[in-house]
Symmetry: C2
Subunit: 218 residues, 2 copies
DNA sequence: ATATCTATTTAGATTAGTCTAAAAATATAT
DNA sequence: ATATATTTTTAGACTAATCTAAATAGATAT
């Protein structure tokens, strides 16, 4: 049996390793889990004992196929619950992450499959992230960060990197949501801020914003 | 902060004390929690420290107002999730108890109020039990057990005592659900079994069944 | 009223997850 | 290449919830 804490560590290793392909250091893991490196080391050893990660002392950990499967299933649950909260219970996209962190640990394959059907088999969550299907398959959108966008081009907003409520509320305040069209007007060399046109209005966004907003060419 | 385990003990004390009005012995509590008496003693002491129960050594424990409020809120969440699972996700009434045991611990007042609204403010769960409103208020139906029913009278099924999937599946197999009309024909003195007429068909139910089916006069 | 039985509590140990502080390995700098 | 700094691991301790086994309180029976 897998514990809630183990599940959270596995999910975090998955995210830190860029979809399970890179080694994750215990320090990075501890940082992401808001805990101490010694705790992360202990947990990584435990996960290695259970064959969810491959772990080499001083080198870091990487998910095994079994660990990857668990991570993807937790992510599937997280994102389906987010769709439920937004589409059915009328939460706004900046409120659902913390709630989904709780709901993602409910154990029942049948529940999640029925929820999937009830929601109409959605392919993306409210932040534009893809939802793995019941076999764990999903396609990553071919997206770029606003910071990498070309001047003069027009893009469509397809996702966010940071899904903190602070960032999402910033986007709300500026009427930017998934599907919003963004024209890139000018990049300031000094502070890497970017002037864009959104909904017919010109505005300037900081580099932090530009690093966290994903776009796709239209 | 209240832990998941504490919440479960409080809920069980509530049920064992008949809506919070009787002392509960540590042995009864341990039995209901599938644990040992020593564990129940430890937990009851801890709950007393936190002022969720009043506890006298060798006498048992009873919920305080604060404990009662927590119990009722957990029950509200449990029953609302059961309605969601049956009404929206098409689970049958015998499948939802274990799932609701998990979902009832999700912490968010806003979530449960929005779920309540989404479900249309239901007053009863799929087993006929009343759902406390957001102030904790609910009315107990004036119900009797089939075992106490009068011969010759016709009743309507309004609830179950045992909501195990075994018992609910027995009812499914015999086409008995909430609202089903039941005419009481004869009580056997020898084994306390009861002959009833349901959906035009006569059948005999054991005393165990008669002790777990709640009826109301029509 | 005393012995016996049962219910309850206490004492001490165990596990999961965490922590601090110290030790060891690796990386960096001169 | 050696010293220094950083990262990672180890050792030992702590808390929550549990257990077993022993001790104690209360109930029951003669």
């Amino acid at each position: 049996m897998i514990t809630l804490t183990e599940e959270n560590y596995i999910k975090t290793i998955y995210h830190l390793s860029k979809h399970g392909k890179e080694m994750v250091s215990t320090n990075a893991l501890a940082e992401a889990m808001s805990t101490k490196a010694s705790s992360a080391t202990d947990m990584v050893k435990k996960l290695a004992d259970k064959s969810y990660v491959d772990y080499k002392k001083y080198q870091g950990a990487i998910l095994t196929d079994a660990g990857n499967k668990i991570a993807i299933n937790v992510i599937r649950k997280h994102r389906l619950w987010e769709v439920f909260l937004v589409d059915k219970l009328c939460f706004s996209w900046d409120e659902v992450h913390e709630l989904a962190e709780q709901l993602e640990h409910i154990k029942s394959q049948k529940l999640i499959d029925k929820l999937d059907a009830f929601l109409g088999y959605p392919t993306h969550d409210p932040h534009g992230d893809p939802i793995p299907d019941k076999h764990g398959d999903f396609t990553l959108v071919d997206k770029i960060m606003l910071a990498q966008a070309q001047i003069g081009e027009t893009y469509s907003c397809v996702g966010v990197n940071d899904s903190s409520s602070e960032f999402l509320q910033y986007l709300n305040n500026n009427k930017i949501e998934l599907g919003t069209k963004i024209e890139v007007l000018y990049k300031e060399v000094f502070d890497s801020s970017i002037k864009i046109k959104v909904n017919g209005l010109e505005m300037t966004v900081s580099n932090s914003v530009a690093q966290n907003l994903y776009l796709q060419k239209v």
